[in-house]
Amino acid sequence: MSEHEPSDEVLLARVGQGDNPAFDQLYARYHGRLLHYFARMLGADRAPDLLQEVFLKVISSSTAFDGRGGFRTWLFTVAHNICCNEYRHVEVRRRGIEAQRRALVPGATVSAADERVELADFGSALQAELARLDPDRRSTFLLRFQEGFGLEEIGRVMGCPVGTVKSRLFYTTRLLAERLQAFDPRADEEVRHG
């Protein structure tokens, strides 16, 4: 965004007045990032619907935004809350499907946490490992390392203290480092020669 372009907050105020060009600009700025966020949180097939849902909320609540924390923080707070609601629905469906699987295959004890993912490249493996994470830890991680949010900003989006944000990040980076160790040949080399 150049200096001459209106800020997100200015565009939002215009959206509140029904300004279509202002909304188009806001949509262009954030639709890609939100699509990626939703895809990594809930899967690529759900991302377009959730993207639409978040922008509908932006339009309906455009006059309710009080400016605290900035538009980006507010936008991702809405996105995070949509993810939380979606997880509740997904969990209900998953339990139903799991129950059906057990009914079809008596004695089956496979759980998602036990499945090992064998993938060829670091990127795919990273996506797979992120998908196995607890939603709160995954969201925290994505907001930090994909979106570049600061710790306080993440705390505002997720409604938790900075200490909680830090502990989630520490836990997640340690876990990912363990699970993705096989994909880092330089680390192995350093261990051998260090």
């Binding site: 007045q17 279509n20 909304f23 890609g32 922008f55 670091f122 990040l169 980076t173 350093e190």
Partner: protein, 181 residues
């Protein structure tokens, strides 16, 4: 280069910095301390490299069509248009709160202008003939307490106003010190 011993950085501090801050967010001294530590600590250097690799993988890469603006779904465009209609509809409604304010202000102004005629003032009313002095006669308001000069003096000492200004207009003409209520 300054001696690294002047800028000791522990692995715990390095881990905090790598998690919570981007290099370009650090002040020069903090960045120098961290970089000095990473140059010496294999484990922390490995973690730094790991996080950079993660960032690179999570980075949203521009697509071939990134120069073209994304197509806004019609449902969203319609929602914005509905918002415009709502705003215009509300602005066309009579401004009842504002009308009340105007009427209220007019009422207050009318009251203020009429107040001198309604409220008692301190000036003696010369339109009626003065009541004759002499023995007091039975009056319709004889049951009311008559303010004596002493009472008026005590009141003026509190209010800081002249006695005359407190004297109410008499129902029938009386002297200043006499029959006022």
């Amino acid at each position: 280069m300054a001696s690294r011993a002047l800028f000791p950085c522990t692995c715990a501090e390095a881990a905090q910095a790598l998690i919570g801050l981007d290099l370009n967010e650090m002040d020069p001294l903090e960045r120098a301390r961290l970089e000095a530590h990473l140059a010496e600590c294999l484990a922390c250097r490995g973690q730094s490299r790991f996080l950079e690799r993660i960032r690179a993988n999570l980075e949203i890469k521009p697509t071939q069509n990134s120069a073209a603006p994304p197509r806004v779904p019609s449902s969203l465009a319609d929602a914005v248009q509905a918002r415009r209609f709502l705003v215009r509809t509300r602005s066309a409604e009579p401004r009842r709160p504002a009308l009340r304010l105007v009427l209220g202000a007019a009422a207050v102004a009318a009251f203020v202008l009429a107040a001198p005629r309604l409220l008692p003032d301190g000036a003696p009313d010369t339109s009626e003939p003065a009541a004759p002095t002499g023995p007091a006669r039975a009056r319709p308001d004889s049951h009311l307490v008559q303010a004596t000069p002493k009472m008026l003096d005590s009141l003026t000492s509190v209010a800081g106003r002249g006695r005359d200004s407190l004297a109410a207009p008499s129902l029938s003409r009386g002297s200043e010190t006499g029959d006022s209520i």
